[in-house]
């Protein structure tokens, strides 16, 4: 079953509204989950659970938001920034994410900005294609 990108976005929008208590018009494609929509760590799990239910897919937690596992590895993080190796690793773990502006200054404090509504839509699209 092919689901259009627009339908995925609409569903993701609804998930964000329910999970984060934000207004629908705040959930734009570019909105960052933490910065713009105020998501906290437990909200990420809530979002994962809701996406699984809404799209009938299985999401291993480290797939959608894999950054956590990287943080504790000194090969990947040095002086508060991702190393080249760390960045490469993160990129391959998150093919659904746009790294363009992050790459210039891979400060780990800015990792949160990578998680945009658009990256979630991309992720779901990939997952649905895999399943279909």
């Amino acid at each position: 079953m092919a689901v259009s990108r627009e339908d995925i976005f609409k569903e993701v929008q609804e998930v964000m509204v329910d999970a984060l208590g934000v207004d629908e018009d705040e959930v734009t494609q570019q909105a960052t989950l933490m910065g713009d929509l105020g998501a906290e760590s437990i909200d990420f799990l809530d979002i994962v659970f809701r996406l699984e239910k809404a799209f009938e897919i299985k999401i291993p937690r480290e797939e959608l938001f894999p950054a956590e596992g990287l943080m504790s590895n000194p090969e990947y993080v040095n002086n508060g920034k991702l190393t080249e190796k760390g960045l490469a690793e993160l990129k391959s773990a998150m093919p659904h994410t746009d790294f363009e502006s992050f790459e210039d200054d891979p400060d780990i404090n800015k990792l949160g900005d990578l998680f945009t509504v658009n990256s979630v839509v991309n992720f779901v699209e990939l997952k649905l294609n895999e399943a279909g």
Binding site: D43, L45, F49, M71, S72
Partner: protein, 158 residues
């Protein structure tokens, strides 16, 4: 959760759903000032009763090995006051449970009426918080809670 705020379980299906009872009495001090001459149970304490019901359900699903902490109130909608003398039934159901967390949906009824809908999220804290270490003993589930459960699981297995 050493403070027990529910009276007993009347149904318990491991890993799925449970129903607990809470009798509300004017002997409870919180009702004396909330409000003078108009005692109603504070809604946060109705949430607490659901958190204990659902929390024990979630804890039991992993044999009380995990430290289960209330992490998020996803939904709490109330449609009537709860007054002294009321008997509340707290219906909790596990929606999702994983290594790190669980989400539950719940309904509070009094007789035939639905008083509240309360959906919660619990964290298994040893699996979260970036490897932060917690005391080894399970400070969430103590013997007291297990005794609360013993009656219903024994009677159901008969």
């Amino acid at each position: 959760m050493r403070w027990i705020w529910i009276d007993k379980f009347v149904e318990f299906h491991s890993g799925q759903n449970a129903v607990a009872l809470k009798n509300v009495t004017l002997a409870e001090e919180h009702l004396h000032d909330h409000f003078p001459d108009f005692p109603v149970m504070p809604e946060c304490l109705i949430i607490e009763a659901m958190a204990q019901t659902a929390g024990i359900l979630v804890g039991e699903a992993k044999s009380f090995k995990e430290k289960v902490i209330l992490a998020k109130v996803k939904k709490a909608v109330f449609s009537d006051y709860v007054r002294p003398g009321d008997t509340l039934k707290l219906h909790a159901k596990i929606e999702t449970i994983t290594t790190e967390a669980a989400s539950t949906i719940g309904k509070v009824t009094r007789g035939e009426d639905t008083i509240a809908e309360i959906d919660l999220m619990f964290s298994h804290i040893d699996q979260n918080l970036a490897g932060k270490q917690f005391p080894e003993e399970n400070f969430v589930f103590t013997g007291m809670f297990e005794s609360l459960l013993r009656g219903v699981t024994l009677s159901e297995s008969k």
